[in-house]
């Protein structure tokens, strides 16, 4: 499975963007494709759990406050989330396209409901390095 989303998911997210702008209706296809993750992801979006963290350099990451209270980092440019479900269901088992945190990031981009936080370049480096240390 490529790091880019399959075409059907890209199309669905584009339709969502249109639907949300016009009617605030969430397409049923979201649940069909993503199952229970769709509801969990929408719940994260509703709780304003997604934060876009950017620095003066222009580089940015997403952090998602999970339902367990832990914060997970999602890289904006490719499919990566630091949560255990991503490592197991997506990477190891290829059972899922996305974890709920990554789906929540994409949904928040479409629905324009991200919180925003500006940090220094050094702070962004430290946030990325903390992820590395947590992996170790």
């Amino acid at each position: 499975m490529a790091v880019t989303l399959p075409a059907v998911v890209e199309e669905l997210l584009s339709e969502m963007a249109v639907a949300v702008r016009e009617t605030t209706r969430i397409p049923n296809e979201l649940k069909f494709i993503f199952g229970s993750s769709a509801i969990q992801a929408l719940d994260l979006v509703d709780r304003q759990s997604i934060t876009l963290i950017s620095s003066p350099s222009g580089r940015h990451i997403y952090q998602v406050l999970g339902s367990s209270g832990k914060t997970y980092t999602c890289l904006a440019s490719c499919h990566y989330c630091s949560c255990p479900a991503f490592a197991f269901s997506v990477l190891r088992k290829s059972e899922s396209l996305l974890c709920k945190h990554l789906l929540a990031v994409y949904l928040s981009q479409v629905m324009r409901t991200c919180q925003q936080l500006s940090v220094s370049d050094k702070q962004l480096t430290d946030m990325l390095l903390i992820e590395k240390k947590q992996e170790a």
Partner: protein, 168 residues
Amino acid sequence: MKIRFQYPPSTGELLGLLCSAHEAPGPAPSLLLLDGLEEYLAKDPGPQEAAYLAALLLDTVAYFSHRRGPNRDCGLMVALQTQEEGDSGDALQLALLQRYFPAQCWLQPDAPGPGECRIRACLEPSGLGPRTEWCVTFQPDGEMKITRWPTQACDPSSDKSSSSGDQP
């Protein structure tokens, strides 16, 4: 045009370079080349650690592309030597890396003629592009010749010893 060589001695140092790439002064590069990815994965990291390294490479290149401006992407090329007889962990790691680097060029030593070195190169572009195979021959005088491989069949999952992955 300048080539900058860096030699991060450990996986930690490499990750540090990637995480801090946005702090580095000077113009954004047009190409990031990483050799010996297998060395940085040699301590048998779990799938999440390997994925983080691959994802950070892509994120760093995406950042450089953003800095270079529209229609001026930064490319990424990563070289990895695979085990001839790897275990299931190696297979999982390779599948994971193929997820992040779908465009691949497999290089396999071929039986050479007298005094020459020959490599079979199988290029797999990402998406639905066709595979193509090439024969790369190095003559004793150092001359390199590249010709199309006589047959189109290429199964990089069997008997492969090294490959390089490319950002599509």
